[in-house]
C-alpha cells in the first residue's frame, strides 16, 4: 500500500523479502546496505536472536530515483523464515506493496521452498489479497553451492503460476543477482503505480488540479541513482 505525500513530495513502497529459513533474505539486505551510498540509505535494523537468526524482521529504508519531482522511497523488510514464526510473517506482510521470494537452490531445500511459497500465498490471502495483485519476483539464491538444482527445475516448481514472473539466479553473499532482483521488483512497483494512477485519472476524466500544478512546478528534475 504505497503512501503518497504531496507535502514531502514523496512516494513510499514496502518490499518484503520472503522465503524459507536460511535462504539468504537477510544477506540480500546486508549486501544492498553495503553498496548503497550513505545519503540514500538508512540504518539496517535487524531484530535477530543471539544466533543471528531473524526473530522479528530486518528493515532497511532506501531512497531511490526522483521521478517528476517526487522522491521514491523503498522500505525493505525480511520475514523470519523459521516455520514457527508464522504470526510474525503475517505482521510483516501488512501493507506490503511487492515481494521478493528468495528460494534456496540446494536440492534438499526444495520442499521448504515450496512450503514457504505456499505459506506466502496463504498469508496474503489472510490479508484479502493474492499474488495476482501483489507484484513479485523470484530469486534463486546460493547458486555457488555444490548441490544446487538447475534453474529450470526451480522455474518448474516455483514459477508455474498462470503469469510467469521475472526470476534471477543469485549468490547473495557476493552480491551476484542482488541488484538485478531489487531493480526489477522496484520497477514493477513503479510501473504498477503509474498504471493505476493513469487508470484512476482516466476514470475520473482528469478533473484534478493539484497534481497538474505540482507537475508543472517540478517537471524536468533529473533522475538520480544512488549506488556508489
Amino acid at each position: 500500500m504505497s503512501i503518497i505525500n504531496y507535502a514531502n513530495k514523496e512516494i513510499q513502497f514496502k518490499i518484503v523479502f520472503y522465503g524459507p529459513a536460511l535462504c539468504g533474505k537477510t544477506t540480500n539486505l546486508a549486501y544492498i546496505h553495503t553498496q548503497v551510498h550513505d545519503t540514500h540509505k538508512g540504518e539496517l535494523v535487524s531484530l535477530a536472536t543471539a544466533a543471528d537468526r531473524t526473530l522479528f524482521f530486518d528493515f532497511l529504508p532506501l531512497n531511490a530515483v526522483v521521478i517528476q519531482g517526487f522522491k521514491t522511497k523503498f522500505q525493505l523488510y525480511t520475514v523470519p523464515g523459521q516455520v514457527l514464526y508464522n504470526a510474525t510473517r503475517q505482521l510483516v506482510l501488512r501493507s506490503v506493496d511487492g515481494v521478493v521470494f528468495v528460494a534456496d537452490s540446494q536440492w534438499e531445500k526444495m520442499e521448504e521452498n515450496i512450503e514457504s511459497f505456499q505459506n506466502l500465498q496463504d498469508n496474503l490471502a489472510r490479508q484479502g489479497t493474492t499474488l495476482d495483485h501483489v507484484p513479485y519476483v523470484l530469486q534463486y539464491n546460493k547458486r555457488d553451492m555444490p548441490n544446487v538444482a538447475p534453474a529450470h527445475y526451480l522455474e518448474f516448481i516455483l514459477n508455474n503460476r498462470k503469469t510467469r514472473v521475472p526470476s534471477f539466479e543469485a549468490v547473495a553473499t557476493s552480491g551476484q543477482g542482488v541488484f538485478n532482483t531489487l531493480n526489477t521488483i522496484s520497477r514493477l512497483l513503479l510501473r504498477k503505480f503509474a498504471r493505476e494512477m493513469e487508470q484512476q485519472a482516466a476514470n475520473k476524466g482528469h478533473r484534478g488540479t493539484e497534481s497538474a500544478s505540482a507537475r508543472t512546478a517540478l517537471s524536468g528534475i533529473a533522475a538520480a541513482t544512488i549506488r556508489r
Binding site: 540504518e43 529504508p61 503509474a194
Partner: protein, 158 residues
C-alpha cells in the same frame, strides 16, 4: 485494510497542525503518524540526532502489532495504547483507527498523564481527518506516467 488516501498539501498540512497542537499542549518531543505496516505518514517535533523516523516507525508498528497479537491471545480485540518507559525517553503508542497509529516520544520534562490526556484528543482529531480524506479522496492527475518512468532509466538503484 483500507488503502491510504493520497495526502494532498491541504491534508498533509492539517495532519501536521494536529500534531503540532498536540506537541505544544503535551510538551512531548516528537510524534509520528504511521500506518500499521510501518509506513510513515506524517511527523512533527525534534527527533533525536542520529535517529531515523522511518526506522522508529517500522519498529513501533512491529511492537504495536505484536502487542495486538498478545491482546488477542487473552481475549481482548486490541490494547488501545502501549506505553514504554525509559529513564530519559518514553514512548506512547495509540491506535488511531484500524489502519493507523500515533507514536509519541517524550522526556521527563512532561508526564505520561499529560501526554495520554492530549494524545486521546489528538487521536480523535487525526481519525476524523483521515476519515474525511477517505470519504472524499482527492482527484489528482497521475504523478508520473510509464513514459516518465522509462526516462528514469532501467536502474532504480544504480
Amino acid at each position: 485494510m483500507q488503502a491510504m488516501p493520497i495526502l494532498t498539501l491541504q491534508a498533509a498540512g492539517d495532519l501536521l497542525k494536529a500534531l503540532e497542537d498536540f506537541l505544544e499542549k503535551s510538551e512531548a518531543n516528537f510524534c509520528l503518524i504511521i500506518d500499521r505496516g510501518g509506513n510513515l505518514i506524517s511527523q512533527q517535533g525534534q527527533i533525536p540526532e542520529g535517529a531515523d523516523a522511518s526506522i522508529v516507525g517500522a519498529l513501533a508498528a512491529g511492537s504495536f502489532a505484536a502487542t495486538r497479537e498478545l491482546a488477542l491471545r487473552i481475549g481482548e480485540p486490541e490494547f488501545s495504547a502501549l506505553f514504554q518507559q525509559g529513564a530519559n525517553f518514553s514512548i506512547l503508542i495509540n491506535a488511531v483507527d484500524e489502519d493507523v497509529i500515533l507514536v509519541t516520544a517524550f522526556t521527563t520534562q512532561t508526564t505520561v498523564g499529560l501526554v495520554r490526556f492530549y494524545s486521546a484528543r489528538a487521536v480523535k482529531r487525526i481519525a476524523n481527518l483521515l476519515a474525511d480524506l477517505r470519504a472524499n479522496p482527492p482527484e489528482v492527475e497521475p504523478l508520473f506516467t510509464e513514459r516518465d518512468l522509462a526516462s528514469a532509466g532501467n536502474r532504480i538503484f544504480g
